[in-house]
């Protein structure tokens, strides 16, 4: 027994010695030639990847988080300040600062001691007070030492309005066509019912004005232009002109009559609408009466259940995605910008795909590979490195001023001096971006073509197919997934580009969509809005930059989602093509 244990121990010891020896050997070897083992490099490469991923995901997380929480209702606090005034608003952020001697000398002793206890620092909070029409400011700072008490009363309203931004305060009374409802009689149901009707009236007015009067005005204007065109062509003294003028006058009169009828209808609804008002009161007691239809929604942020909050959150998102911007883009939705970005990217893809693929086909399949082709290839690659704003300048000078100017002189002389195509617009913006992204498509297509085995081409040619037949039936189908990859990259680049667009057609406000019900239905000459520019505009151009900040995150989130959506669509198409190709293969 004892013996066997000793034996076992010796054996273990020997084994341990051997292992130690081996480790020593390896270590010695490792020390002598570190790079040969490659492990540090592995760590380095892995670390670089991890760092890259961390940055990308950190950035995405920042945008997604800030974008998602923006529309979630926040509580409204009523703050009593030490000078006796009241302040109501959403706390938006707080910071630590060092009050200067000028501030300190006006403070009372306890406050001064409190600050001294914090080593001279104090905390302050920024409140979104709203009520810009009454206060002439939307945000106000309040230092903690000046705050006596904070409350979150259940009956304080946060009211989103069509104009002047939000109102924070109370509802004093409701005036429904002379009948005043206030106090306990003013229930939530009455308020919601009255508001629902007011919104219906607002939409009715909008429909009459936008749709019906819009159509009449459009016809009136086109009549005017038609006449001007005839005058330009035939002269004002010609018979044709006189006849046309007489006809046009008659038509214009009927149209004017129709306009007056519609305007009277709209006016009647407006007069009716003006009789339904709501009287609001801010926290200090000052009142404000506004038409009920000016209210987007009433919310009681301190008295909402979780589901009500989610409902409000979703309804704000819906408004953001489907409405037009209001108040110089600071409020409302981004539908025109979303649509503009989408249409422009699709048009760009339609323009860039054929040109890029054709150029690459010639370069790879037809051209004799030599010095000239190398030079062309280098030039194409270099084009990808030209700053995008240069393309913008080119687009403005060549497309808008030269091409567009010529089109205007030839086809729209009656509209001059107002340009139609002779200024930035959707078409020119798409073409400029197509130019910007064409190198990406060429390079990707060339690579995809080069990846098709030469033996397949030879086989096809040997069977008697012509060069074009070979390309069409053998080479292109196999290269298609690679070409799609190039197109995806081009679209991603194009959708996120802003600098050149600012010169060739993207504007701050263009609520008219490039698609509508008037002939020719798609209006390529129109300026449009773009999400990328919208971000710049809201972030750096809006009057109230503080309120604009959260909107910047939301819009950025939307732009990233749109690019992801476009890419995902292209990837799905590519995968389908790949699958078809595989089935065809076997």
């Amino acid at each position: 027994m004892y013996k066997s244990i000793t034996f076992a121990l010796t054996r273990t010891a020997t084994a341990a010695d051997q292992t130690a020896e081996a480790v020593k050997y390896i270590r010695r070897k490792g020390r002598s030639d570190l790079s040969a083992r490659g492990e540090p490099f592995l760590w380095g490469l892995g670390g670089a990847l991890a760092f890259g991923m961390l940055m990308i995901f950190g950035f995405l997380a920042l945008i997604v988080w800030n974008g998602l929480v923006t529309f979630y209702p926040k509580p409204v606090q009523v703050v009593t300040l030490s000078d006796g005034t009241l302040l109501a608003g959403e706390p938006s952020r707080s910071e630590v600062y060092k009050p200067g001697p000028q501030v300190l000398e006006h403070l009372d002793e306890p406050a001064r001691q409190a600050i001294a206890a914090e080593h001279g620092y104090a905390r302050r909070t920024l409140f979104r007070t709203g009520n810009f029409d009454l206060y002439n400011e939307d945000f106000r700072w309040a230092s903690d030492f000046s705050i006596v008490s904070v409350a979150e009363p259940a009956d304080v309203y946060f009211i989103e309005r069509i104009e002047w931004g939000p109102f924070v305060g109370f509802i004093r009374s409701l005036n429904l066509k002379g009948e005043t409802v206030s106090g306990a009689a003013l229930t939530r149901q009455i308020l919601e019912e009255a508001h629902r009707r007011a919104v219906q009236r607002r939409e009715l007015i909008r429909e009459i004005e936008r749709e019906e009067i819009g159509a009449v005005n459009h016809r009136l204007n086109s009549e005017r232009l038609k006449l001007k065109r005839i005058a330009l062509k035939q002269g004002e003294n010609s018979d044709t002109y006189r006849q046309a003028a007489a006809e046009s006058l008659a038509l214009q009169e009927t149209l004017q009559g129709r306009y007056h009828d519609l305007a009277r209808d709209a006016q009647a609804v407006k007069a009716e609408d003006a009789q339904y008002t709501v009287t609001l009161a801010e926290i200090g007691g000052r009142g404000k009466t506004i038409p009920l239809s000016q209210v987007v929604r009433f919310t009681l942020p301190n008295d909402m259940s979780f589901f009500e909050k989610i409902r409000l959150y979703l309804s704000r998102w819906l408004e953001f995605l489907t409405d037009e911007p209001r108040e110089a883009n600071a409020e409302g939705g981004v539908m025109p910008a979303l649509f503009g970005t989408f249409v422009m990217t699709v048009l760009m893809a339609l323009a860039v795909a054929p040109f890029g693929v054709m150029a690459a086909l010639y370069l790879r399949e037809y051209a004799k590979q030599g010095k000239l082709v190398s030079v062309v290839r280098i030039c194409v690659n270099n084009l990808a490195g030209v700053p995008s704003i240069v393309y913008g300048v080119f687009g403005l000078g060549f497309f808008a001023y030269i091409c567009g100017g010529t089109i205007d002189r030839l086809f729209f002389p009656e509209r001059l001096p107002n340009p139609v195509f002779g200024t930035g617009g959707l078409l020119w913006a798409s073409l400029t971006l197509a130019l910007l992204t064409v190198p990406v498509v060429i390079v990707a297509t060339e690579e995809a073509l080069a990846a098709v085995p030469q033996s397949m081409r030879e086989g096809s040619l040997a069977c008697g197919a012509s060069r074009w037949q070979t390309i069409k039936y053998i080479v292109l189908p196999r290269a298609l997934p690679g070409i799609m990859t190039g197109l995806i990259l081009a679209m991603a680049r194009g959708a996120g580009e802003v600098a050149p667009l600012m010169l060739v057609g993207v504007v701050k406000l263009a609520p008219e969509l490039p698609l509508d019900g008037f002939f020719p239905y798609i209006h390529l000459e129109r300026s449009f809005m773009h999400l990328g520019f919208h971000i710049f505009d809201v972030g750096f151009q809006s009057r109230n930059s503080e309120a604009g900040k959260p909107m910047v995150f939301v819009t950025t989130l939307l732009l990233i989602s749109l690019v992801a959506f476009l890419n995902a669509t292209a990837i799905v198409i590519r995968n389908r093509l790949k699958r078809r190709f595989l089935i065809g293969h076997f």
């Binding site: 106000r140 005005n217 009136l220 110089a328 151009q541």
Partner: protein
């Protein structure tokens, strides 16, 4: 040069005094009760494109929103990258309106006249106080124009004896004394840049250390995040994070950037905001443009001016400009 800049201010004050019924309320900006409600007419349709000042960018957008509520079929497009982009746009015919935060230079008028044979027309649409902003914690009480010149300019045409580099040079004590002043301003395409150079810098040159920003709001945001900053921008872009500094022409007589001080002409950097347009004096102005101008000068239009943080013009001034354009 200094005489010229005083001329500016004086002419401005005179124009306002002649036409303004002085606003009595101390804080709230009020409309001239004489301004009339806007009445919509029929048959207004077409395109409106405005290219020009960034200061007026939001104002033009708000006006066009209001205008479109009367004429839904009017297509409006607003672009604002700086006042200097307005004259070329009017000359090229790419825009109907050219909002500008300064008057057109004689060179620009000449270029326009060369092409069309007549001068561009202008209307004075709002009053702005060009404000000098500092961070909200900055204790500075008042600056004279000469001090402002010595802060922003390397030529010091105002005649201040030495260059001002730190807050201590302006008399601040404690932690502020040794801190260098960080300068924010607009890019050179901006009319605000030109006006400030003309009036506050007495025509001199900016220091190279001024951080030129692409927008009025960007200046304010820069100052909000930089405690030792100073910068200039339209008063309408004020946020809770910055504060305006009262300015004085003569030492001791400080005036803050308020509506009242702008109207009386006491505030030295008060100015008109303009909208330029191409109008052939021998032809009637087309209905879209004339209605838009009428809308700007209506009660609703000037209410929008207040909403954007600027100050409205008076009935008398509006009538004068409407008459000059032969818009009834």
């Amino acid at each position: 040069m200094s005489r010229k800049s005083y001329g500016y201010t004086k002419a401005f004050a005179l124009a306002l005094l002649l036409s303004m019924s002085l606003v009595s309320a101390p804080q709230a900006v009020e409309l001239d009760p004489g301004l009339q409600d806007y009445m919509a007419v029929s048959g207004v349709s077409g395109n409106l494109k405005s290219i020009g000042s960034d200061t007026l960018n939001n104002l033009m957008t708000l006006w066009s929103e209001g205008f479109r509520s009367h004429y839904p079929s009017v297509k409006v497009e607003i672009e604002g990258k700086g006042s200097s982009t307005a004259p070329p746009a009017l000359i090229e015919g790419t825009a109907q309106f050219g909002p500008m935060s300064r008057e057109m230079k004689s060179k620009e008028i000449e270029a326009f006249e060369q092409k069309y044979g007549y001068k561009p027309s202008s209307i004075r649409v709002a009053v702005d106080s060009l404000a000098v902003f500092v961070h909200k914690d900055n204790p500075i009480r008042c600056l004279t124009l000469k001090q402002v010149d010595a802060i922003f300019s390397k030529t010091r045409k105002g005649g201040y004896e030495k260059e001002i580099l730190t807050w201590g040079d302006l008399g601040l004590t404690g932690e502020w004394a040794a801190k260098p002043i960080s300068l924010y301003g607009r890019n050179s395409a901006s009319g605000t840049y030109g006006y400030f150079k003309e009036v506050a810098l007495y025509g001199g040159d900016y220091k190279d250390t001024v951080k030129e920003q692409p927008g009025s709001s960007a200046v304010v945001q820069g100052i909000a995040s930089d405690k030792y900053a100073i910068g200039y921008s339209g008063v309408g872009y004020k946020t809770a994070d910055v504060r305006t500094v009262p300015l004085a022409v003569k030492e001791g007589a400080c005036f803050d950037a308020t509506a009242e001080n702008a109207y009386t002409g006491d505030y030295p950097l008060a100015r008109f905001l303009y909208v330029y347009l191409n109008r052939n004096p021998n032809e009637k102005i087309d209905p879209v443009r004339s209605e838009f101008i009428k809308y700007i000068f209506s009660r609703q239009g000037q209410q929008v001016v207040i909403k954007d943080g600027f100050y409205p013009v008076s009935r008398a001034l509006a009538d004068e400009d409407l008459k000059a354009l032969a818009v009834r």
